[in-house]
């Protein structure tokens, strides 16, 4: 996910694994010798890591096999910025050493899609939605989060702090007005496999409202603003 230089030639690497969740590894001489690790420890790369336990929780990296360096991300700044944002969201929301195989799959497929010139705005929406869903933070969508009334075709509001969608009589002035079609689109999207990023089309209203809704949900669950968000907004 990222690395920081340590000492003269070593690196401490943040890894996200299918079985062991987020881990930190120590890569001795990673900056000096290209033979052992090469470019495999660069952010967004998918690798097979051979490691042994060291002192404390830090993995001692022995060797890596590069599976996919996702070089496509390095040719487009908005995609690179979005990939960084996604990685930071996972870092902030997933506890260290907590196994999350579905989120691992989600992140891998998301990065693959972006590296292959995928559409940035749709990819962000899908990633954020699925991430909050897989982590159990998905708000109430198709019914009022307070009176549990199932919505018919009617105006509704959304307030993440109050649990999600709200009927007008429960909502009062809180939250913001949201089209039920947007909520419906997002609910239907959650029925599609989290690995799929192609073949989605969202209208401008849906993209705008869903973006606002997800931003509100994320601001409630994130411990701090992602550093990469400011960068992403510039491009």
């Amino acid at each position: 996910m990222r690395h920081v230089d340590y000492g003269e030639a070593d690196r401490i690497v943040s890894l996200f694994t299918a079985e062991d969740g987020r881990q930190k590894g120590f890569a001795r001489a990673a900056r000096k010798s290209r033979k052992r690790f090469g470019s495999s420890l660069e952010p967004f790369s998918q690798v097979i890591v051979h490691w042994r336990t060291g002192r404390g929780s830090l993995w001692l990296l022995q060797e890596t096999e590069l599976l996919n360096s996702r070089t496509g991300l390095r040719t487009d700044l908005p995609r690179l910025a979005l990939a960084s944002y996604a990685v930071e969201l996972v870092e902030l929301l997933v506890e260290e050493a907590e196994s999350h195989p579905l989120i691992f799959e989600l992140l891998c497929c998301f990065l693959d899609y972006l590296a292959a010139d995928g559409a940035v705005e749709v990819a962000r929406l899908l990633f954020e939605l699925r991430l909050v869903y897989l982590l159990g933070y998905i708000p109430h969508l198709l019914h009022c989060s307070e009176c549990l009334k199932i919505f018919a075709a009617e105006p509704i509001r959304f307030d993440a702090a109050r649990g999600g969608s709200l009927c007008l009589s429960c909502a009062g002035p809180s939250g913001f007005a949201i089209d039920l079609k947007t909520i419906g689109s997002l609910a239907r999207t959650l029925n599609v496999n989290h690995r799929q990023f192609t073949d989605f089309k969202f209208g401008e209203t849906t993209r705008h409202e869903a973006g606002r809704m997800l931003a509100q949900v994320l601001s409630l669950v994130l411990p701090r603003d992602p550093k990469s968000l400011k960068f992403l907004q510039q491009f």
């Binding site: 590069l66 944002y85 960068f231 510039q234």
Partner: protein, 199 residues
């Protein structure tokens, strides 16, 4: 153990702040200085102070310099139509050692890093745009590192320079000279194949 030697402990602590110097190396260096002659230690202390007092950054390119402008910026023989952009002064020195480039430089003192929140405003970019207004350029050579941060910086600069109608080039990357393919890492081989050229 060093509590009874406060001056020794202080030196060890200061040396330990240097990059790549851990506590053991700091203690080893301190013992070396303890055994060295007083004139050698004085020379080292004076050299440190003199460097700190005299060396700053070139007002034009932000390379290290003892005067307002560095040696390269003062050299009239350099090709002022070409500008090479590097991340750090050490990168500039690496290109100078190659004797393959005779233009001017601009040192950014960092690279864009979305994950660390380092944006364009954190680099020597306003100074670069100011230079552009005063110095007509034919070519900009982007020599930032081939890390994600270096590539992000190169992409960002390439877009802006192209909008200004300046020719943008990037350092080539691939298999190092004199090396055996079988020992090259997969990522480098992938890049080398993708960037292959006709002979």
């Amino acid at each position: 153990m060093l509590g009874s030697l406060p001056s020794f402990a202080r030196l060890t602590a200061e040396l330990g702040k240097l990059p790549g110097v851990g506590s053991k190396t700091a203690a080893r260096l301190a013992f070396h200085l303890l055994r060295a002659s007083e004139s050698d230690v004085t020379a080292l202390a004076e050299a440190l102070l003199e460097m700190k007092r005299k060396v700053g950054f070139c007002q034009r390119c932000f390379h290290v310099a003892e005067e307002s402008f560095c040696r390269i910026c003062r050299d009239p023989a350099r090709d002022s139509r070409r500008l090479c952009i590097v991340q750090e002064p050490q990168d500039l020195l690496a290109i100078e050692r190659s004797h393959a480039y005779s233009g001017l430089y601009h040192v950014l003192h960092g690279a864009l890093s979305p994950l660390d929140g380092i944006g364009p405003e954190d680099l020597k970019l306003p100074q670069l745009w100011q230079r552009l207004e005063q110095e007509p350029l034919e070519e900009v050579l982007l020599a930032t590192n081939f890390s994600v941060e270096g590539e992000a910086t190169a992409l960002y600069l390439a877009k802006l320079f192209k909008e200004k109608g300046v020719r943008v080039t990037r350092l080539a990357h691939g298999i190092p000279m004199g090396s055996d393919l079988e020992y090259i890492d997969t990522g480098t081989v992938q890049q080398a194949v993708a960037g292959r050229r006709e002979l």
